[in-house]
């Protein structure tokens, strides 16, 4: 438990590394929306942990060579002071690298405890600080030339290139994350290596020792940093890389990954050694400074970039100020830890040697975790399976819901349409019923009229038959006259004309009202004449309808004009229409 408490400063440093340096790897891919942040964070986390556990020992050993912090309280203080130095310098806007802070803090520890600092290792480390951005520049320039040559030769369509780059960026970023884990885990956990528990965990297929467990924890801390804070860094600080084209970003990330890999791969170093070449020193380097170098490399090839001396000067100053600040801070802190809290910051037992020869002491505990590992894998697979099934179900339900929603919408709209149609049909039906009623009334009227006419004509026929038998001529003539008068009367007061007036009155009710209101002295015949004039009937037609001569119509018109008080120029019909 105490070990974990002391480890917290290293874990904090790991969190800070994950939060800040992940943007160098996935910043451009996430920023340009080619990869989602969640996907990038998962890939980065997994590969950082793999790199840290399986490749992290090389660079960590170099730090141990520089100064083996052999007491937990000392390691805690060194790590914490490095973290505080990084934090303070970042807050002050100064260029800073975790690697340089850790090296400075270790030197501070050596100075305080009186341990000899291995100067040759120190020079080697400082050499890599200068070499790493330069290597980044060279790699990126060469890779950029290669990529440009391939793209120009292949004439690949931009959309296809985009699809390829999507996968390319994920692949190189995964490689970058692996190299970052392998190289920078030394910064996070390097000082705790001498205090690592002497255990070997056997998982059947592979086994990991105490140092690797430590690196695993450091990797997890970096992953938490990636998940919790790197998005914000990518959005605010990562702009420098984000502005690159996807092709250039691919080159920068690959160059960075390669440099980190070279400075952390013990196998590659051994390979160089085996072919007689000088091996690469396995030293933790700053990924940010490599990125700066890589971007400059591309700029030089493109010919459009001025060398930003201000930036270079900042990096150069950082090489001096960061270790100095961290070393000074560590020296002070160790004084307090030792004298105020009474904790031991250095041990007399050589833990490195102890680690190197564990069998001598016989205290390495072997834990066989094959069964738990298998069970864990099975459990993880089961969880994954359940998750996938549930996700599939959720997606299916979502799709079904969408279909249902669409069906519902179409049903609602068709229902609304049907209702409209029904309403229209109902209105039509009502209109048709009204029309039918009118027609029925008309027919009734016609029927009644016909029957009345028939009765009248039958009566006339009977009367005429009777007249044939009357010998008295005078009496016959008188009767004939009577019948003629009857016929004339019938002609003038026919039911049809009455009906006609009735209909006109109905349809022009408003006109009748206005007329009566304005000219109350008008007789019924005058009102009827006004109505017929308004309807534009000719005098001849009016004469027929009113059963008078056309001359009488003219006289009636004259009288009407007088009653309506019209002047000579005013047109009677127009006046009536305007009412």
């Amino acid at each position: 438990m105490l070990f974990l408490v002391f480890l917290s400063s290293g874990l904090f440093l790991g969190w800070s590394l994950g939060a800040n340096d992940a943007s160098n790897i996935f910043g451009s891919a996430v920023g340009s929306k080619m990869v989602s942040f969640r996907k990038a964070a998962w890939i980065a986390s997994i590969f950082v942990v793999i790199g840290a556990v399986f490749q992290g020992h090389g660079a960590a050993n170099t730090l141990t060579d520089l100064g083996s912090v052999d007491a937990l309280a000392g390691a805690f203080t060194v790590s914490l002071c490095a973290a505080i130095a990084v934090f303070l310098m970042t807050r002050s806007g100064l260029p800073v690298s975790t690697s340089q802070a850790v090296v400075g803090a270790i030197i501070g520890w050596s100075a305080f405890t009186g341990h000899q600092t291995n100067l040759s290792v120190l020079w080697r480390i400082m050499g890599t600080w200068i070499a790493s951005p330069i290597l980044g520049m060279i790699f990126s320039a060469l890779l950029f030339l290669l990529v440009r040559y391939i793209l120009r030769k292949s004439k690949i369509h931009v959309i296809k290139l985009d699809s390829l780059l999507r996968f390319g960026l994920i692949a190189v970023a995964a490689f970058g994350a692996y190299s970052l884990g392998a190289n920078n885990i030394a910064n996070v956990m390097g000082v705790f290596v001498p205090s690592a528990p002497n255990i070997v965990l056997n998982f059947g297929l592979f086994s990991i020792n105490g140092v690797q467990v430590l690196f695993f924890l450091g990797g997890i801390a970096i992953s938490i940093g990636i998940f919790t804070y790197s998005r914000r860094v990518m959005e605010t600080l990562g702009k420098g890389i984000l502005d690159l084209t996807p092709e250039a970003a691919f080159v920068v990330i690959l160059a960075q990954a390669l440099v980190l890999f070279l400075f952390s791969s013990s196998s590659f170093s051994a390979f160089l050694d085996s072919i007689g070449l000088p091996p690469f020193p396995l030293v933790p380097v700053s990924s940010t400074q490599i990125v700066v170098g890589a971007v400059m490399g591309i700029g030089i090839i493109k010919g459009g970039l001025e060398i930003k001396f201000k930036l270079l000067r900042g990096i150069g100053i950082g090489w001096l100020t960061t270790p100095l600040a961290a070393g000074f801070l560590t020296y002070l802190a160790l004084f307090f830890v030792q004298n105020v809290f009474g904790l031991e910051v250095s041990s007399t037992i050589d833990l490195v040697e102890e680690l190197a020869n564990p069998s001598k002491e016989g205290i390495v505990s072997h834990l066989d975790l094959t069964v738990p590992a298998i069970m864990l894998i099975i459990f993880v697979l089961l969880v994954l399976l359940v998750y996938l099934v549930l996700r599939q179900q959720k997606l299916r339900l979502k799709a079904e819901n969408q279909v249902l929603h669409q069906q519902n919408q179409s049903y609602t709209s068709s229902k609304a349409l049907n209702e409209l149609e029904i309403r229209a049909i109902q209105m039509q039906n009502t209109m048709l019923t009204n029309k039918l009623e009118l027609k029925r009334q008309e027919l009734n009227t016609i029927l009644m009229n016909i029957s009345e006419q028939r009765t009248f004509l039958e009566n006339i026929a009977i009367e005429l038959c009777r007249l044939i038998g009357i010998p008295d001529i005078q009496k016959r003539d008188a009767k004939l006259n009577e019948l003629t008068l009857l016929l004339r009367q019938r002609m003038s007061f026919t039911k049809e004309i009455d009906d006609f007036y009735e209909r006109i009155d109905k349809t022009h009710k408003n006109f009748q009202l206005v007329l009566v209101e304005k000219f109350p002295d008008l007789t019924d015949n005058e009102k009827r004449l006004a109505m017929l004039l308004r309807l534009n009937f000719a005098s001849k037609e009016i004469a027929t309808l009113m059963n008078i001569t056309p001359k009488s119509v003219e006289i009636a018109r004259y009288r009407l004009r007088k009653k309506l008080q019209l002047k000579e120029r005013e047109n009677l019909t127009e006046f009536l229409k305007s009412l």
């Binding site: 929306k33 931009v158 493109k302």
Partner: protein, 215 residues
């Protein structure tokens, strides 16, 4: 390959779109010639074809837009590409509108102007026809765009010069008495000339896009 499924579909749609614009320019040229030579039936036929091509171009453009945005293809340059396609689509829109103006307004064009107007149409259409390979080059090899768009600028300049000469002729040399007729002829010269201007606007955009893409 599955990973190229959407990419291949987008590429095909863009090709179809550019082919449609190319055909549109040809049909416009034929349409103006047929109008000037009095082949009314062929002119109406050209007008219908151009109208259909314009609709097809619009549909293709919308499909490309949907695909690029729905599949999150080329997030950094898709905005530029859509702007370019809009600019190119604008050319066929203008061509259709111009040909419709001929159909609706039936301008009375003196025979003395026929050759000049045919030449102007050819120059404007050549500017469009030169733009299409430049646009195709942007997608495959942006470094070749520059050497192709200079032809667009050349044809545009020539079209401008000829249009000025035609306007001068209309207002100063030809025996046209009515000012309204002069204006009418000037507008139709302008309609044809506008096409080369639209091609130039698209070429300007293309040249900036090519610089942005060149690595």
């Amino acid at each position: 390959m599955k990973i190229f499924k959407n990419a291949n579909k987008s590429i095909e749609l863009i090709d179809v779109f550019l082919n449609t614009i190319d055909q549109g320019a040809f049909i416009f040229k034929e349409g103006v010639k047929n109008y000037l030579l009095g082949n009314r039936e062929s002119f109406v036929d050209n007008l219908k074809t151009l109208s259909n091509l314009e609709t097809e171009a619009d549909i293709s453009r919308r499909e490309i837009e949907n695909l690029l945005y729905n599949q999150s293809l080329m997030p950094q340059i898709r905005g530029d590409i859509m702007r370019l396609l809009e600019e190119i689509d604008n050319i066929i829109d203008l061509s259709k509108k111009s040909l419709f103006q001929f159909d609706v307004e039936v301008p009375s064009i003196p025979a003395a102007l026929n050759q000049d107007l045919i030449k102007l149409t050819e120059l404007s259409c050549s500017a469009i026809e030169s733009l299409i390979p430049a646009a195709r080059a942007y997608f495959h090899s942006p470094e070749n765009v520059k050497e192709r768009i200079h032809r667009v600028y050349l044809f545009e300049r020539e079209a401008d010069k000829l249009a000025d000469a035609i306007k001068r002729k209309v207002f100063q040399e030809l025996p046209i008495t009515r000012l309204s007729e002069k204006f009418h002829l000037r507008y139709f010269t302008l309609h044809i000339e506008t096409l080369s201007d639209a091609a130039k606007a698209a070429a300007d955009l293309l040249s900036i896009m090519a610089i942005k893409r060149s690595i």
